[in-house]
Symmetry: C2
Subunit: 358 residues, 2 copies
């Protein structure tokens, strides 16, 4: 039940859609590149499958296709960027570039963003630092779906953290993960396949652990990384909270349960505590700590040592963060991107709406 | 089987011991304050129970009581500090102060440290930023005890992360957690009580999940936060790895399995890749992002909203990171610090060795 499309085909289509909602061409192209980086890297839930969601947010007047993205506060190593309700896919690259520029002069750069929308995958933005021999970081808050330890209320998003670190001969270290046991995308796959979820991923509306992947639709919640108190869910809650505060309280965006939902059919919370969604970006020049070549040689040693660690029976090797996504991208650039039937249908409807080919 | 001692008694004793090993008086006092902050905050495994361990490291020639702690590399917002094999309890406050000073001029400060030793609890150092209206961060690598996902080898320490964030009327947000499912100290308690550990904390030497808390002594390993692949242990592995790289690869300390062991009876790895243990500190001036008062008011709103979230049956309230430790400290400053019999005996032996009273 999958159809395979070339990257180029999906990219051109996505760019056309963003042009149709009024984005300037260069921003439409950038937004398409950022969105499709998720499909290339195998994070299918955050890629072109969300395109119709962005369109509906624009139709609901929650996305400004021609935003005036600007720095509203700064210091030598920091800035706050206001995204003017633009696509996160465009606001985030702007903000990450500010972080990189700050790092070029101050050693590091840290940018908190308000008044934005969903920015695709965090890893794309963190990786922009690599070409400058910098460590890159990206995080974002998101629609509230996660209950803190001991809570039944959904107070936090899946709030991902991405960290990209350059190496020399080895490919870079790229961690990119939701601060929940499992990302919401994984749950959606189980819903589609009508399969049970492992205990520790979700709880029902009164806070009892559940294996029903549809629990989220009846008042349940995703669980912080750790799953339960005994297995450290308070640590996952801490991580999600830190992402929320760095992204939204530092910048003046909406935090916690006030974070605006991605789906347009849910109303915005009536009593906003800030503007839009928040992100946080960091860039650290490696040679602000030690010579870049020396650092990168040691990263090669680090990576080689971990990759060659003894494995448990049945596992071929220990993975370095970024390995699976890089292999997926190499494959999909050649063999194409498989899309599920409902996604294909959804994109067909978007094409009809804007009278363009798909 | 516990004896209770006043904070003042333990503090004076600890300071005397550090003076006996040759620390200058001000550094001995500082080291005692840092070490005992763990006992006050209820993290008993990292406090005075470790004093004899520090003494044995000094006896083994691995701790320099009169270190020349210095900045060896810097940029406007960064520095690398060489701890000259000093007590981490003294090196870390120096480095955190550098981070705070950098933040005062550049907005943020980031300090990676090499050639250090164990620094007590990460939270103590992160919290130093609070009095300056800054967000504080502290992390450290540590003796290798943790197997990455799919590995049987112990490649990482419990590598804690602490983040302290100031509020206005509310007490600060203080997260401080090991990047494993459970800290090693919790395992030691189970060993002492001869109780089983929950599955997901440890694995045996071939990588099979185990509930035997003694598994670590027979080649087993602690597990990254998440516990197993299905519950996101690769995310805990990412976190531990990031702490290791920021602390030790950025600074030029020993990383991964090369991190020097805390216990003096284990030999140092024969082929070091750097100097000593590594730490990483950060300080971000809140008003480098938005007016400090505005930020702190929103932190109050954040904290109040999360504290009042609906709870699962049987739980009184949702905790804010730092709540349990702060309550513990308030109690122990008045009613004293309980020490287990083996710890009391151990401290008695240290007193005998240095011919001082305990």
């Amino acid at each position: 039940m999958e159809q395979v499309f070339s990257y180029e085909h999906l990219s051109t289509f996505t760019e056309e859609v963003f042009i149709k909602i009024g984005c300037p061409q260069d921003q439409a192209r950038l937004a398409a590149t950022v969105l499709l980086s998720a499909d290339l890297r195998g994070i299918d839930s955050h890629g072109v499958a969300r395109l119709s969601g962005y369109v509906r947010l624009w139709e609901a007047g929650r996305i400004n296709a021609t935003p005036d993205i600007r720095i509203v506060h700064e210091s030598p190593s920091t800035a706050v960027v206001d995204g003017d309700s633009g696509l996160g896919l465009v606001v985030a690259p702007f903000a990450m570039q500010v972080a990189i520029s700050k790092a070029q002069t101050a050693g590091t750069g840290w940018v908190s963003v308000r008044n934005s929308n969903h920015f695709g995958i965090a890893g794309y933005h963190a990786m922009k630092a690599l070409e400058h021999d910098m460590v890159g970081m990206a995080m974002t808050n998101a629609s509230p779906l996660v209950a803190p330890t001991f809570a039944t209320e959904r107070m936090l998003g899946t709030n991902p953290i991405a960290v990209a670190i350059p190496a020399k001969e080895q490919p870079p270290f790229v961690a990119d993960f939701a601060t929940t046991t499992a990302a919401n995308g994984k749950l959606e796959i189980l819903q589609r396949k009508q399969q049970e979820a492992p205990l520790g991923w979700i709880q029902d509306k009164v806070g009892i652990p559940s294996s029903n992947p549809n629990e989220l639709k009846s008042g349940g919640a995703l669980l912080p990384l750790g799953g339960d108190r005994e297995h450290g869910s308070h640590k996952g809650y801490c991580l999600g909270a830190i992402v929320d505060i760095f992204s939204a309280v530092l910048s003046g965006a909406n935090y916690g349960p006030w974070a605006p939902p991605f789906v347009s059919f849910l109303p915005l919370p009536p009593d906003p505590v800030g503007k839009g969604l928040g992100h946080f970006f960091g860039a650290m020049r490696v040679d602000a700590f030690r010579p870049a070549d020396e650092f990168k040689e040691h990263m090669d040693t680090w990576i080689n040592r971990f990759r060659s660690a003894e494995t448990v029976a049945g596992q071929e090797k220990v993975l370095i963060p970024g390995d699976p996504e890089r292999e997926m991208e190499a494959d999909r650039r050649i063999s194409g991107i498989p899309l599920l039937e409902p996604v294909v249908k959804d994109l067909g409807e978007v094409a009809m709406k804007f009278k363009i080919d798909f």
